[in-house]
Amino acid sequence: MSMLADWITGPLAYPFMQRALVVSLLVAAVCAVLSCYLVLKGWSLMGDAISHAVLPGIVIAHVAGLPLVVGAFAAGLSCALLTGYLKENSRIKEDTVMGIVFSGMFGLGLVLFTKVETDQHLNHILFGDVLGVSVRDVIETAIVAGGTLLVVLALRRDLLLYCFDPGHARTIGLPVRVLHYGLLVLLALTIVASLKAVGIILVIAMLIGPGATAYLLADRFGRMLAVAVATAMLSAAIGTLASFHIDGAPGACIVLTQSLFFGLAFLFAPRNGVLARRRVPAGTA
């Protein structure tokens, strides 16, 4: 027991580990909430797209002397809008359009990055630098993540209805376009908030894993949200602490822990798990 306590409290003796843990938990929570909507809406690739597209925004913001958050947000949003525009004005399907837009913007970001003198490390943008966050970073993350979380929770029923049955949402007079683009804006904000902790590549996992795990475990949306947030925050804590002990990258450790949770849910979920299905012959459930 005391070994476990040491395993937990040991790393937390260092202020940088405390800050890392706080940021990881915040990011995990907000990503988990968004991931539930993305999984249900079939938008997992949208998180992938927006996060890659953020890169040129970061570089341009750096050159222009703006806060990186502003550039990242603007770029993420333009990716989403450009995708929508191309889809509506061509015969190409949405997933293909997304693939073109985000890889193009990611390429632009990489080219710009090598042309610009910057104090940023590419690796930190791609994979996060949670051990290097300052108190100021913690506050910034808390504001963006907290604000996003509040808006999503306030709109949670409308967003859910929009994902489930946009036709009905429209006929009862809900502003579906506002909900559609609102969800994209919230997604972009979430990615921006996650930059420091996990970077733009690993945030994709944070935006899919918890929702997928919870989808296997819950048959009601409220529970799905709760399960997603719980597993994500638990993964964040375990991953961050484990990274200290094994001297690994924290972002990667968090994502790996989340994947483990998904594997467990896949095997042992009481109703949807592989083992449960094997016990009950198909068709009688």
Binding site: D158, L161, G173, D219, F221, M224
Partner: protein, 311 residues
């Protein structure tokens, strides 16, 4: 495919069942749904519907009949405000579409294929979604909302299933849940997209009975269907569609073999048994069976008298 037709389906309803007490005589004025010379052109350039007009009054069940691609779903979309007509106008209960939607007048019962049945929502959650338009911004249900949900579930006989995840239901039960949502919404206009697809005969009967009750209460129902056989049973009006309105009006006048041939062209199986093939007497009437893949439509009568002798 060629299963024998149950005899009860051959019987046409007594004419009285299609007449709603208190309905004014004469052609409909469109106090429920008025589609006035509507054309819809999509951004890719195809015109799905051209110059379509029909009018429905409160207390009507109307079938919207046509082959796939005839513009049935476009007409639905125009009524639900998903597409804006490039010409003409839709008015719902005398209001423009946008205003009618804000007032929660239109309820929509989707086709089963359009619903994600794995979605983590329970039966009662879906029915509660019908109440969202009546709630405040945060959609926190009031006592009245819960009462309406209970009542709607009771009315479609799904109260016992309220805690089930929607994917666990049978085809007929799934339909009834979405019908309950429309009831809970209390829309004056109810759009039903293929309500009998994948539904057992008992449920079909229950749905039809419910639609008749709603008609008596003054609702307007527009039912998109290719289940021709059931149309004369419960629809008092019919709109025949093939990229425009071919014919619209009272079922007895519009739902004739000739009009259906025009609507479906060669897409319909057509059997006509008459004279010597049917019976050995002087009776000149013939038996006409029209069907696509659902329940067949049967006409029995003189082929020259416009289906008047349908029995």
């Amino acid at each position: 495919m060629n299963a024998p037709v149950p005899t009860d389906r051959l019987a046409s309803p007594s004419p009285a069942s299609n007449v709603v007490p208190g309905t004014p005589a004469g052609p409909p004025r469109g106090d429920g749904i008025l589609v006035d010379r509507v054309s819809v052109t999509y951004p890719n350039g195809t015109t799905a519907v051209r110059d379509a007009s029909f009018a429905l009054d409160p207390g009507t069940i109307c079938a919207l009949v046509g082959i796939n691609g005839s513009g049935k779903s476009t007409v639905f979309k125009a009524i639900m405000g998903f597409v804006r007509p490039s010409a003409g106008a839709v008015r719902l209960c005398g209001m423009p579409v946008a205003q009618a939607l804000k007032r929660n007048i239109v309820a929509y019962v989707p086709q089963s294929e359009d619903v994600d049945w794995n979605f983590p929502v329970l039966v009662e959650d879906v029915v509660m979604m019908g109440r969202y338009g009546h709630m405040n911004m945060l959609r926190i249900p009031a006592r009245a909302d819960r009462a309406k949900v209970d009542e709607a579930l009771e009315r479609v006989g799904m109260a016992a299933f309220r805690k089930r995840q929607i994917g666990e239901l049978s085809g007929g039960q799934k339909k009834r849940v979405f019908l309950a949502r429309a009831l809970a919404q209390e829309g004056r206009i109810i759009l039903l997209d293929e309500p009998f697809t994948g539904v057992d005969v008992t449920t079909e009967g229950a749905i039809v009975a419910l639609l008749r009750e709603l008609r008596a209460a003054g609702h307007v129902m527009l039912v998109s269907t290719h289940d021709l056989g059931s149309v004369p049973d419960f629809c008092d009006q019919v709109v025949l569609l093939d990229r425009t309105v071919l014919a619209a009006g009272a079922t007895a006048e519009v739902f004739t073999p000739e009009n259906l041939q025009r609507t479906f062209g060669g897409a319909l199986r057509n059997f006509r048994l008459g004279g010597a093939a049917l019976h050995q007497d002087a009776d000149r009437r013939s038996l006409t069976v029209l069907t696509d893949d659902e329940r067949p439509l049967v006409f029995y009568g003189d082929p020259d008298s416009d289906g008047e002798g349908r029995t």
